[in-house]
Amino acid sequence: MQVKKRVAVVGAGMTKFMRRAQETGKELAFEAAKQALDSAEMRMQDVDSVALGSAPDAFDGVHMKGEYLLDGAGGWQKPYSRNFVGGGTGVFSVIHGWWHVASGLFDTCLVVAEEKMSTCLPHPQTAFLTIFDNMIERPLGPNLIWIFALEMHRYMQKHKIPKEQIAQVAVKNKRNALDHPSAQIAKAVTLRDIMNSEVMAWPVQRLDISPVSDGACAVLLASEDVARKITDSPVWIDGVGWNLDTTYWTNRDLYFPRYVANAARMAYGMAGITNPRKQIDFAEPYDPFDYKELHHMEGLLLCRKGEAPKLTKEGVTERDGNLPICPSGGLLGVGNPIAAAGLMKVCELFWQLRGEAGKRQVAGDPRTAVAQAWGDLMQIGTVVVMRS
């Protein structure tokens, strides 16, 4: 398939990720947007369009929060719109921006993702009650951890994965995040720390979960001709994919995220990737919980079903391994302001593929990488393939 315009990332920005930010959501969005503009030495007046991603309004506590955030995100008197695909939003925001430019309608698009979860009390988790079916699930008093626990347990049981192998992901990502200047809680943990942490909803323990967070990220996209004027080292978005499975999650087998695989196949098809394990140099799969990284490596077809824990155990997914996974530190290490956390993964691809990731830089001059997010009721996969 012929895409009308090739699209590049030419700048990226990111705030600190914090448990509670003093900044308003608008101010967080601005800080990230400003950095993205500055990193590309672009002025706002040179930007044609703005795409925003943010997860539920019940976090920030503002109805139509896309409208509320728009001035901080640079949307003043611009074509501006907000996409929303739950936890998949962060990576999807780049896809949303991508079609602004790939369509030929705009030369540039500023993509901003923001989340301010600390506004929501008594705990942001409480808002997650309202993601369940209002007619037949909410009356049971569910919480968000349930669906993760149910999915994780099914995955473990299907492939007979011991909990320790899953916890290894949290050890790796929290260690990787020590090198990330935006990380919320940069703290190394041991396998024992995780296995001894409080049980939330078995098999999910406290340290299996990424920290609740406030923050924002931004990237600047440009069409090929414009990108080459802006920078000598654009990073190309060569594949995009997204896929939404049925709402009826209790009618599916949760052990494998087939919607992620569908989205990956779509993105790989565009990017001409036929053997992802060989052709992809590193990956940033979505890791709000440790098992999700493994689940998503399999969904991204980077290994066989059930094989991801083995690769992790063998060190293949370490930053200096053969297939680095979440060299940023991921959501587990850096923090999880939902939409911003997804876009953070795309920022990481940008910095890594330009060789600008500093202490986090993966070895061996990476050329091709994939970022992925996931969300809704274990339902959506959003995938972006980027090349230097």
Partner: protein, 366 residues
């Protein structure tokens, strides 16, 4: 559209609209439709991450489906962009309103106000519409009689539109003041409904039907979201969105190049303000209204469907209702409210309501 639909769930309401749209387009969603774009806001649904709940009833399971948190015209523009990339040939757009599931809309509108600067005042969000209406009446020569005429025109048009909810026959009254000068009758009443539109790339469209209606341009824009720093005497967001759409559609003189318009009339004065922003008059919109130019049989019919004032306000679906009306008018299949004469080019416009300064415009041609 109806004031309430207690007999169906939102999923069932949307399913019926989807069935109808796919039959009209002659497509099988499971086989032919490659991408789906939905429109919703969580607080209108009472569900967080509402995009979870959309794929099944539109045929989108395990397909590229996304939600744009905006009016359906934004989603239409999104689908249009998706097709322009070359990625897809057929894309479906969905929007709906289950306003009758909302016990009371006021606390939801309140949640849209700035929490630091406006919400502490404790006033109904329609005070912003009152302020905007007063600013508009002061800066233009339009008066309350013109607002009444908009209401009467749109209610009258809606009576010929079988899709519209039942409209009152009572004369317009300015007795029930919400926020002076805004009265109850100035406000479009909420309604339930669902809409699905199928877009196709040129070749695919030609193979599907003989009389496709073409999207010639789409635009969307926002003025400052902060009440204090936006333009108060005109709808700059609508003017910017129209400029973008007209540029693509190569429309230089909208007052003559456009033959029919369906524009946002969430509040009566907004129709006049939006008509001016879209360039649907040479001088002021109220003059055109006085001359009857905007009537169903006028030279540039505005809201021949009855608009939201006549049909009912369907939250994020309102703009898509406007767009569907233009498609039907251009196909000459609007029935009793078909406008006379040769209509070749039409424009549909949406506004996201108080307190936003955001909206979208789409231009259609036969």
């Amino acid at each position: 559209m109806k004031p309430a639909t207690p007999e169906v769930s939102y999923k069932e309401l949307i399913f019926e609209a989807a069935l109808e749209a796919y039959a009209d387009a002659g497509v099988n969603p499971r086989r032919d439709v490659e991408s789906f774009v939905c429109s919703s806001e969580d607080f209108y649904e009472g569900t967080s991450i509402f995009d979870e709940y959309v794929p099944d009833q539109i045929g989108g399971v395990q397909k590229p489906v996304c939600t744009i948190s905006a009016d359906g015209i934004y989603s239409l523009a999104t689908a249009y962009m998706q097709i322009l990339t070359g990625l897809f040939d057929i894309v479906a757009v969905e929007a709906h309103s289950k306003a009758s599931d909302i016990v009371n809309i006021s606390p939801i509108y309140d949640l849209a106000l700035d929490p630091i600067y406006q919400r502490p005042l404790g006033l109904n969000a329609n005070f912003i519409a009152g302020l905007e209406m007063n600013a508009f009446l002061h800066s233009s020569k339009a008066n309350l009689t013109h607002c009444n005429r908009v209401i009467e025109k749109n209610r009258s048009n809606a009576r010929a539109n079988p899709v519209a909810m039942d409209t009152t026959h009572a004369p317009v009254s300015r007795a029930r003041v919400l926020s002076y000068p805004l009265v109850m009758d100035d406000v479009a009443p909420l309604a339930d409904g669902a809409a699905v539109v199928v877009l196709a790339a040129e070749e695919a469209a030609k193979s599907l039907r003989e009389d496709p209606v073409w999207i010639k341009g789409a635009g969307w824009a926002s003025d400052s979201p902060t009440l204090e720093t936006r333009d108060w005497d005109r709808a700059t967001y609508a003017a910017l969105a129209a400029k973008q759409a007209y540029r693509q559609a190569k429309i230089n003189n909208p007052a003559s190049d456009i033959h029919i318009a369906e524009i946002d009339d969430t509040y009566s004065f907004k129709e006049l303000q939006h008509a001016e922003a879209l360039g649907l008059c040479e001088g002021r919109a109220y003059e055109m209204l006085e001359q009857g130019a905007y009537d169903l049989r006028g030279e540039l019919p505005v809201n021949p469907s009855g608009g939201s004032l006549g049909m009912g306000h369907t939250l994020e679906m309102s703009g898509l209702v406007r767009a569907i009306e233009i498609v039907q008018q251009l196909r000459r299949s609007a029935g009793r409210h078909q406008v006379p004469g040769e209509v070749e080019t039409g424009v549909a416009q949406a506004w996201r309501g108080v307190p936003t300064a955001s909206g979208a415009v789409v231009v259609f041609s036969r």
